[in-house]
Amino acid sequence: MQIIVKNIAKDYGKRLNAVHAIKDISLEVNKGEFLGIMGPSGAGKSTLLNMISTNERPDHGQIIIDNIDMTQLHDRELAKYRRNKMGFIYQSFELLDSLNVKENIILPLALNHANKKFIEARVKHLNYLLNIEELSNRNVEDLSLGQRQLVSAARALINNPEILFADEPTGSLDSKSATVLLNYMQVINRRENATILMATHDAFTASYCSRVIFIKDGTIFSEIVNSGKREDFFEQIINMQRTIGGGNYFNVSQDN
C-alpha cells in the first residue's frame, strides 16, 4: 500500500461560518493505481488532493505515504519529498508569470540541480509529446487556458514523478488535447508504474482510471472499479453520477 489516508478532516474559516470541506475520509491507494476522485463542485476533491499531496495539513487524521507519516514531517523534508517524488497539475495551473513557458516546464528539474543536457532532452521530449513546441519562448500570460493546462501538465511530468496529482487536468482542454494528455498519463501509469490521483467531474476523463471514488459533502459516497472495458466503466460512472446528484454537477466551475 503506497498511500494510506486515515480519518482526515479539514475545516476552512472560523467557527461560526466554518466550511467542513472534508469531514471524515479514509482511503488506500496501491502503487501504480490510477485513482479517480469524482464529485460535484465544492465536494472537496481539490481539498482532498491538496492534503494527500501535503500542500495542506489536515486538521485531524493521518496521511501515510511509503510508510512515512506526512503529517509529522517538517517543512523542509516535505518540500524535498514533494520535489523528488511528486508531480502536480493544479486546477488553477499555478504557472509563474515571470518565467516563459520553457522555464516554467523545467523549473522542477532545475530545482533538483539536474544536468543541463538532461533538462534539454526532457523538455524536448515532453514538448513533442504534448505538441507544445511552438510555445517554448512565449510568455505564460499570453497563453490560452488550454495551453496553460498543457504547460502545467508538462511541468508536472518532467521529472517522472512517482505520484502524480492531477486536479481537473482536462478541464480546459479540447477533446483532442485531453485525449493526448490522458493517454500519456495512462502510459506513465502502466509503463513506469506511476501512481496517479486525479480529481475530475468529467465522466469521460474518469473512465481512464482504474478505480473511481465519489465524494459528496466531504465524505466518500461510493467507489467503482474498472473491470477492464472503458465503455462499460464509463456507463457505470454516468449511472453513479445520476445516483448522487440529479445531474447538475456537470457544471464546469473554475472555483478552486
Binding site: 523542509r76 514533494r82 502536480f88 499555478e94 504557472l95 515571470s98 522555464e103 522542477p108
Partner: protein, 669 residues
C-alpha cells in the same frame, strides 16, 4: 460593506501601514517639537542667542523639515494605493461605481492619516520635555526645561494636521481616480536594448568620476595650500554630474542587464531557484529603479552633510582653542597693571604662569608658497614650553627635546598638515626646517607678532637677539567674574607694542624696532603685540552653538535615515498580488520555505546594499570638497560611515524579518 473592504485592506497591509504610521508620526512629533521650541519661554529667557540668531534657524529648519515631511508622506502614501490597483480594478469589473472606489481610497487614507497625526502629536507631548532637556544639555545650559506647548501652537498644529490629512486623502483619491478612469495610458515598455548602452554610459560616467576623484586626491596631497583653481571647480562639477546621472544609468541599465545575463547563462540559471529568482529580482529592481536611486542620492547627501557638519564643528572648535586659551595674558610691560586690576576682583586666580621668549627676524614663504617675507617671530625653549600648563599644550602635537615645532595660524592641524614641512631662515642663526606644526598658542595668538617656534634649549641659548620678553598668564576659578569696569581697563592694556620691520635685501642685515602701539600710524610692516582678555561669554556662545547644531544635525540625520529606511522597507514589503501569487505558486510546486526565504533575503540585501554601497562610494569621493588634506579626517569619516552602515544594516535586518514573516504568513495560508 465599504467598511469591510477598508478593514480588509488595512489588515492585509498592516505591517506596511504600521511602518508608515510610525515614521510619519515620528516626523510629525519632531516637527511639533521644533515648533514648540521656537516659542519656548525658557529658551527665550535663558539663552541670549535664541531670539537673535538661533530661533530663526530653528524656524527655517522646521520649514525645511515640514516640506520634506510633506513630500515624504505624500510620496510614500501613494505606495498603498498603487498596491491595490488590481483590487480596485476588480471592484470596478464587479460593477462598483468609480466614485465609490475613489471614496474608498479617500477614506482609507483618511483613517491612516488621522492615526498617524494623533500618534505623532501624542509623541510630541510626551517627548517634548526630553528633547528640550537634551538640547539644553548639549548647549551646556543648566536650566530646567519645562515642557510647553502653548495653546496657540497646539491649535496651529491641529490646523496643520487637519489640512494635511485632507490634502493627503484627496491626493490618494486622485491616485485612485487615475487607476479606475476608463481611458488608461499603457505604461511604456522599455526596450531591453536601450538598457545596454545606458548601462555602459552609466558605468563610464561613474568610473570616470571615481578616477577624477582619485587624481584630485593625489594632486591635493602635493599641492598643499595652493587652493582651488578653475580646473578643480570644473572637476568637481564633473564629479557631481557624473555620479548623479551615472548612478541612475547603472540602476536603470547595468544591473538589469547583468541579472539578465546571469539568467540567460544556463549553467547558472538552470540550477536551483536561480532561474526564478534572477527574473524576480530583476522585475522588482526595474520597478524600484527610481526609488533606489532617490535613496542613494539622498544617503549621499546625508553622509556629506554629516561629514561637512562634523568638519565645520571641528574647524570652529580648533580655531577657537587656538585663539582663545581662556586665560588672561599680559607681557612684561603690562603684567603689573593687569595684576593690579584683577587683584581687587572677587575672582580668585587659580594659577599664574609665565614664560620667557626671544624675538628675532625670520624669512619664510608666505601662504601662497612663492614669496619670501621677512617678519618677526618669537622663540620659546623646549623646557620653557614644557613648564606650561598641560591644558595649553594638549592641542599641539607632542615633541621631544631635540625637535622644533612651529605654532602658527591657519588650520594646519585641522587640515592634516601637522606634519607639513616649514622652513625658516633665522637672522644670524641656523636655518630651521621643521615637520611639527601646532596651532594652539600659549598665551593666545595675539601675543605673538607672527608665529612662535618651540626650539631645543641649546638652539635657544645660542640665538642672538636684542629683544626678549616675558609673557604672563592667569587661570581663574569659577569662570569669569570680571566687572565691566575691569574689562574696560584691561581692554586699554590690550595692545602692548608694535614691531616695525625694516627689511633689507639680506635677512642678516634687516632689523626691527619696537614702537608704542597706535592705531593711527600703522604701516604694513608693523606687527602688533597684544595681550588677551579672557572671554567666558565666548566660550558659552561656542558651547551653545555647538550643542545646538549637534542637536539639529542629529535630529535631521535620524529623521532622514528613518525616512530613507522606511521607503526601502515599504518597497520591499509591498508586493502586488501578482508577486504574491508567484511566491505562493513556488510553494505549491515543491519549493521549501527555506528557499523562498533565500529569495526574500537576497531581495533585501540587494535593496539595501546597492544604495548603501553607491552612496558610500560617492560621498567618500565628495568629501574632498570639504577637505584638502584628506588624511586627517579619514578616521572620523570611517566612524561616520561605519555608524551609518550599522544603522542601515539594522533597518535592513528588521525589514528582512518583517518581510519574511509576512511572506511566510501568506504562502502558508
Amino acid at each position: 460593506m465599504y467598511l469591510k473592504i477598508i478593514k480588509k485592506s488595512l489588515t492585509n497591509m498592516r505591517d506596511s501601514y504600521l511602518i508608515y504610521i510610525l515614521s510619519c508620526s515620528f516626523a510629525i512629533g519632531l516637527f511639533s517639537i521644533l515648533l514648540s521650541l521656537i516659542n519656548n519661554k525658557i529658551m527665550k529667557h535663558d539663552v541670549s542667542m535664541w531670539r537673535t540668531s538661533l530661533m530663526p534657524i530653528v524656524f527655517s529648519l522646521s520649514v525645511v523639515f515640514a516640506v520634506s515631511t510633506f513630500v515624504y508622506m505624500a510620496y510614500v502614501g501613494g505606495f498603498f494605493i498603487k498596491q491595490q490597483e488590481h483590487e480596485f480594478l476588480t471592484f470596478q469589473k464587479l460593477g462598483m461605481s468609480k466614485f465609490t472606489i475613489i471614496v474608498l481610497g479617500f477614506f482609507q487614507t483618511l483613517i491612516i492619516q488621522v492615526i498617524a497625526w494623533v500618534v505623532g502629536i501624542i509623541e510630541a507631548l510626551i517627548f517634548q520635555k526630553f528633547f528640550g532637556m537634551l538640547l539644553l544639555y548639549l548647549m551646556h545650559i543648566r536650566s530646567n526645561f519645562t515642557a510647553y506647548l502653548r495653546p496657540t501652537s497646539l491649535t496651529t498644529l491641529l490646523q496643520i494636521a487637519g489640512y494635511a490629512i485632507l490634502v493627503f486623502s484627496i491626493m490618494n483619491a486622485f491616485r485612485t481616480y487615475r487607476i479606475v478612469r476608463t481611458k488608461k495610458v499603457k505604461a511604456r515598455k522599455i526596450n531591453f536594448w536601450m538598457r545596454i548602452p545606458a548601462g555602459t554610459l552609466g558605468i563610464v560616467l561613474f568610473v570616470s568620476a571615481l578616477a577624477v576623484v582619485i587624481s584630485m586626491f593625489a594632486s591635493f596631497e602635493n599641492l598643499g595650500y595652493d587652493g582651488y583653481g578653475d580646473k578643480i571647480v570644473l572637476q568637481v562639477i564633473y564629479i557631481f554630474f557624473a555620479f548623479f546621472f551615472g548612478t541612475y544609468l547603472i540602476y536603470f541599465g547595468f544591473l538589469p542587464v547583468l541579472l539578465t545575463i546571469l539568467q540567460k547563462t544556463k549553467r547558472i540559471s538552470y540550477s536551483g531557484l536561480n532561474m526564478f529568482s534572477f527574473k524576480y529580482l530583476k522585475n522588482r529592481m526595474k520597478r524600484n529603479t527610481s526609488v533606489l536611486w532617490f535613496v542613494t542620492e539622498l544617503s549621499t547627501l546625508a553622509l556629506m552633510l554629516l561629514t561637512v557638519c562634523y568638519f565645520g564643528y571641528q574647524l570652529m572648535y580648533d580655531n577657537y582653542h587656538a585663539e582663545y586659551p581662556f586665560a588672561l595674558t599680559a607681557n612684561s610691560d603690562t603684567a603689573n597693571d593687569v595684576r593690579d586690576i584683577i587683584n581687587d576682583s572677587k575672582t580668585q586666580v587659580k594659577k599664574e604662569y609665565h614664560s620667557n621668549i626671544k624675538i628675532t627676524l625670520v624669512s619664510t614663504l608666505d601662504t601662497s608658497g612663492h614669496i619670501l617675507v621677512q617678519r618677526p617671530a618669537s622663540f620659546m625653549s623646549y623646557s620653557e614650553y614644557m613648564r606650561l600648563p598641560g591644558k595649553i599644550r594638549q592641542n599641539n602635537p607632542e615633541i621631544n627635546p631635540k625637535q622644533f615645532m612651529r605654532i602658527g595660524f591657519g588650520n594646519d592641524e585641522t587640515f592634516g598638515f601637522s606634519d607639513r614641512k616649514v622652513e625658516w631662515n633665522v637672522k644670524n642663526a641656523k636655518k630651521i626646517t621643521t615637520r611639527k606644526n601646532g596651532s594652539s598658542f600659549p598665551y593666545g595668538g595675539g601675543m605673538y607678532a607672527g608665529s612662535l617656534m618651540i626650539v631645543p634649549d641649546k638652539y635657544y641659548h645660542k640665538l642672538p637677539t636684542k629683544t626678549t620678553d616675558t609673557f604672563y598668564g592667569w587661570y581663574f576659578k569659577h569662570g569669569d567674574r570680571l566687572s565691566k569696569k575691569q574689562v574696560k581697563d584691561l581692554d586699554r592694556l590690550r595692545h602692548a607694542y608694535m614691531i616695525s620691520v625694516n627689511a633689507k635685501s639680506s635677512l642678516n642685515e634687516s632689523n626691527f624696532t619696537i614702537k608704542k602701539y597706535s592705531s593711527m600710524n600703522r604701516s604694513q610692516n608693523d606687527y602688533i603685540q597684544s595681550g588677551f582678555v579672557r572671554q567666558e561669554s565666548a566660550k558659552q556662545h561656542l558651547n551653545q552653538i555647538v550643542g545646538f547644531f549637534i542637536f539639529m544635525i542629529a535630529i535631521f540625520s535620524i529623521a532622514l535615515l528613518i525616512a530613507l529606511g522606511s521607503v526601502l522597507t515599504l518597497r520591499i514589503l509591498l508586493r502586488d498580488d501578482h508577486e504574491w501569487r508567484q511566491l505562493k505558486t513556488l510553494k505549491k510546486i515543491g519549493v521549501s520555505n527555506h528557499e523562498i526565504r533565500g529569495i526574500v533575503r537576497s531581495e533585501n540585501a540587494l535593496t539595501f546594499i546597492i544604495p548603501l554601497v553607491f552612496a558610500l562610494m560617492q560621498s567618500y569621493a565628495l568629501i574632498i570638497l570639504a577637505d584638502n588634506g584628506w588624511n586627517s579626517l579619514r578616521y572620523e569619516f570611517m566612524w561616520i560611515f561605519a555608524s551609518y552602515v550599522v544603522l542601515y544594516g539594522i533597518i535592513g535586518i528588521i525589514t528582512y524579518l518583517i518581510s519574511w514573516r509576512s511572506v511566510k504568513r501568506r504562502i502558508n495560508q
